[in-house]
Symmetry: C2
C-alpha cells in the first residue's frame, strides 16, 4: 500500500495491484479452494462441526480442513466454539465479518457451476485449434 493524504493526515491505502500489499494476499486467501467451500457451507448451515464439514467438502484431508479453519479463524471470518465434553465437540460459525463474504462467494461459486460447461467446450476448441 502507499501513503495518501486526507483532511486528518496520512492514511494507508490498499491496492491488490500493488506488490506486497496485504490486500493481495487476503484476496488470494478468500479465493482459495477450501476456504471458499468452508465459508459457503457455513453460510448455508449457520453452524457446523468438524466432522460435518469434512463430509460436506468431499475429498478434503483432515489436515487441510484444520489448516483452512485455523486461517479463517485467525482472519476473524469464522468463530470456533469448544464444548468441553467427551468426546470433544467443536462448532464453527461465520462471524459478522464472515457473513459479509457470503454474497460475493456465493456469486462466484454459482458462476462456476453455471458456466463450467461453456468453459469445457472452450477448452476442447482451444485444444483442437492448437494441437
Amino acid at each position: 500500500m502507499t501513503a495518501v493524504e486526507n483532511a486528518t493526515g496520512p492514511v494507508p491505502s490498499f491496492d491488490p495491484y500493488e506488490r506486497g500489499c496485504p490486500s493481495r494476499d487476503l484476496l488470494d486467501q478468500i479465493g482459495s479452494k477450501w476456504a471458499v467451500l468452508v465459508l459457503g457451507e457455513l453460510g448455508q448451515n449457520g453452524t457446523s462441526r468438524f466432522s460435518r464439514l469434512r463430509q460436506a467438502l468431499a475429498g478434503v484431508s483432515e489436515k487441510m480442513l484444520t489448516q483452512t479453519l485455523r486461517t479463517l479463524e485467525r482472519d476473524g471470518l469464522v468463530s470456533r466454539t469448544v464444548y468441553p465434553e467427551v468426546p470433544p465437540h467443536v462448532e464453527y460459525e461465520l462471524t459478522a465479518l464472515g457473513q459479509t463474504l457470503r454474497e460475493p462467494l456465493k456469486a462466484l461459486t454459482e458462476w462456476s457451476v453455471l458456466h463450467i460447461e461453456e468453459v469445457i467446450t472452450a477448452r476442447e476448441e482451444y485444444d483442437g485449434r492448437t494441437r
Copy 2:
C-alpha cells in the same frame, strides 16, 4: 458430478462440493491470485497488451503472466489477438463469457480492500491470544 434425470433424459449436474467435479477446479482457477487481477484489469481497460498488464500487476513474472493468460484464453474468458507486426503486438480482451465474471470478481476484490484492516486486527488479536 452426478447423473440426474429430467424430462429429456439424464443430465450432468455440477457441484464444487463433490470430489473431482470440474466446477471445483474452475472455481479454484477463477479465484487464483493472478487470474483475478488480470481479469480485473481487462475488465477495467477493455483491452490491454502484455507489457501493460505486466506493469499493472506489479510483481508478476513474465512466466506467470503468460501462463495465466494462456489458461484464461483456453477457458474462453480472454481473447488474444496477434497483430503480425515487428516488433510483435498482442492485444488481450475479455470475451463475452469473461465479461460475466467482472461483477463477481470486482465484488471480491473490493471486499478484500475494504476489510483488510479488520482482518489485520483480527490476526493480531488471535496471535496475542494464542501465543
